[in-house]
């Protein structure tokens, strides 16, 4: 690919901008320009050489704005829900028909600039250029009646675009929100979507997030998630995002106060040349918090799965209970799984464990199923579903569970 150049006059084009914001953006742009796209020489990108991936897949890239218009969208009929529509990352509209509207604040993009300097060049790029996205706040004591589906739609005219978006979710004291992030892809060409998401959970609040794809996509996705958890708050993120060319989810959770819960679970089925990385950093900064990570990957053909998971326990964070497990099922000799678990513990009264395993389909189990009349292919499918099942079991709402199951089943059947 020819050099990807961004001039600082791009930032001049941004309307209604304060001097501070401008200098924040320019500083971040300089940081990005100093390194360019991250490559494998950076420890965090060791298994996902983004520079190389970009140069192999794109002849050129541009940061021109993508359309935020859409003619028609088929909303899900599987269960009642509220929705937010994002078109090419831009906030389009929202509908909270099942809720007390006064309890919910929604707007486009968050303008705050109180971000620390990041070592991740893609975050710098996002800070420099992101203009759109959504910002959602749930009022104190309000528990949403229905789930919120965030439709993340990419339209046809996305060729060679790199989109930078910023989202923010704040769940106030005693409030509760369930979100399904649903990516719908209409683009037939390759593009990059680079998202920064800022999530804060106040005292006793709860956020459950599920991410899933409607269909396959030629998009290359990077998302950095920064979660801040206050006293007794409960965060969970279930990741079912299969069918993407490239996807890196970089999740950082700060457990700031006592008795927080953080769950990160993933059930992925990757095929062809799909490459997906989940990177986590769970910062236990206060006593009595629980974190639980379970990453399950099924890898077929020439796919690649990566899990880099780190648990950090600060000296004051006594009685921490942190658990981390990654398991890969490789159904093709050319598939690859890389896992890098890390524990950094400075407190002495904690329970931390980590484990990682990868293996092939068990031939003995296959034989057992086949002696019951199932052919090899159906037996393999059954074993794959069984392998991923315990993540699905985490979903309590039967309609949503069925919906996710059918999505996953479609991915497995299409292998």
């Amino acid at each position: 690919m020819q050099n990807f150049e961004i001039n600082s006059d791009q930032i001049d084009k941004i309307k209604k901008i304060t001097a501070e914001e401008k200098s924040f953006r320019i500083k971040n742009l300089e940081l990005f320009k100093a390194t360019g796209f991250p490559n494998k020489r950076l420890e965090d990108w060791k298994f996902s050489d983004f520079e190389n991936i970009v140069s192999r897949n794109f002849e050129e890239l541009n940061i021109k704005k993508a359309s935020s218009e859409i003619n028609k969208i088929d909303l899900l009929k599987d269960f009642d829900h509220n929705h937010i529509l994002l078109v090419n990352g831009n906030f389009h509209s929202s509908n909270f028909e099942h809720e007390e509207k006064s309890k919910i604040k929604i707007s486009s993009c968050d303008k705050s600039i109180d971000y620390k300097i990041s070592k991740n060049p893609l975050i710098c790029l996002n800070h420099a250029l992101a203009e759109n996205g959504y910002s959602l706040e749930i009022d104190k004591n309000y528990k949403l009646n229905k789930v919120l589906v965030v439709y993340n739609i990419f339209t046809k005219d996305m060729k060679n675009k790199i989109l930078n978006n910023k989202n923010k979710i704040k769940v106030n004291e005693n409030a509760e929100l369930h979100v399904i992030e649903y990516t719908v892809n209409e683009s037939k060409s390759k593009f990059i979507n680079n998202v920064y998401e800022n999530i804060s959970l106040e005292k006793n609040s709860k956020l459950k997030n599920i991410s899933v794809q409607c269909n396959e996509s030629d998009g290359f996705f990077h998302k950095f998630l920064k979660n801040k958890l206050s006293l007794n708050s409960d965060y969970s993120n279930l990741i079912f995002s299969s069918g993407l060319k490239f996807n890196k989810l970089d999740i950082e959770c700060d457990l700031l106060e006592e008795s927080c819960k953080c769950n990160i679970l993933s059930a992925l089925f990757l095929k062809k040349n799909e490459h997906q990385e989940i990177k986590t950093l769970i910062n236990h900064l206060a006593p009595n918090c629980i974190s639980n990570q379970k990453i399950k990957n099924v890898l077929s053909s020439e796919s690649k799965g990566v899990y880099q998971g780190k648990i950090y326990v600060k000296d004051v964070a006594q009685k921490t209970n942190a658990y981390q497990l990654s398991k890969a099922l490789l159904i093709d000799d050319n598939a690859e799984f890389n896992a890098k678990p890390e524990l950094e513990i400075y407190a002495d009264d904690v329970k931390c464990s980590h484990g990682s395993s990868s293996g092939n389909i068990d031939e003995e189990s296959l034989h057992y199923l086949m002696t019951r009349g199932l052919n090899r292919n159906d037996s393999i499918k059954l074993l794959i579903k069984g392998f991923l099942n315990d993540v699905i079991e985490f979903i309590k709402n039967p309609k949503i569970k069925k919906f996710i199951e059918s999505k996953l089943e479609k991915q497995i059947n299409g292998r």
Partner: protein, 244 residues
């Protein structure tokens, strides 16, 4: 039903079955006994179609050459193997597995697939017939099952799939007397003049409850002695050593 002539089987260049002959007619129940390592489980595996064995000799089932038939087709044609060590399949619900299994067999026979309601009715009927607690069927397949529950589950599968030829590979080992009776009852209630059984066992104990038409002694890959039910009692007294 089943005709085995001069069957030789080896795995990793180790010869295990060395010229085995056996004929089982419809309605017959044959028991195979023999010391450890004589090839009993290999015979069961070979009949089920397990990969990894080098096989020669004749292996005919209802007039067809079994060697040419895949594992799942054997099941669809009516061969059932109750495993010595049933496998644990995490994440797979026992009921859903049984339904998939039954329907794939029904489909291959050109029969209508059972819907969930009809299937549950069948399960209820068969499990109460056997005195099996239905609750285990809503759990993951064999996961966390006790040894006895696993074996009972095998017999329940046999009842549901209704095969014409069942092989029981040491289904009795490790069972208490009550479980043993359940297993025996499962076999006895299925016996008729069309169905055949091959019961592999170490001990004569099971044969007190299941009366075999023939008892064979397998030693070093061959059948060295054949008799009726009394042979088993005799073996119990003398042991296998006398035969060599």
């Amino acid at each position: 039903m089943l005709e085995i002539k001069n069957l030789q089987a080896s795995i990793n260049n180790k010869s295990i079955l060395k010229g085995l002959n056996l004929v089982i007619k419809p309605g017959e129940l044959h028991a195979i006994m023999g010391p450890n390592g004589s090839g009993k489980s290999t015979l069961a595996n070979v009949l089920s179609g397990k990969n990894g064995y080098e096989i020669s000799g004749e292996l005919n089932f209802k007039g067809e050459d079994l060697k040419k038939i895949s594992i799942e087709e054997r099941a669809q044609k009516g061969i059932f193997l109750a495993f010595q060590y049933p496998l644990e399949i995490p994440g797979v619900n026992t009921n859903i597995f049984l339904k998939t299994s039954l329907n794939s067999i029904r489909k291959s026979k050109g029969e209508k697939e059972l819907d969930t309601l009809a299937f549950l009715k069948l399960i209820k009927e068969k499990s109460s017939e056997l005195g099996i607690d239905e609750k285990i069927l809503s759990r993951q397949l064999n996961v966390g099952f006790s040894g006895g529950e696993k074996k009972k589950n095998e017999i329940l599968q046999m009842k549901i799939l209704d095969p014409s030829f069942s092989i029981l590979d040491e289904t009795d080992s490790g069972l208490d007397i009550d479980a043993l009776k359940i297993i025996a009852n499962g076999v006895n209630s299925s016996r008729n003049n069309k169905k055949s059984f091959l019961v592999i066992t170490h001990y004569q104990r099971l044969l007190e409850y299941i009366k075999p038409d023939f008892v064979h002694v397998l030693s070093d890959g061959k059948i060295v002695k054949t008799g009726c039910g009394e042979l088993a009692e005799e073996l119990e007294k003398t042991g296998y050593k006398q035969l060599n």
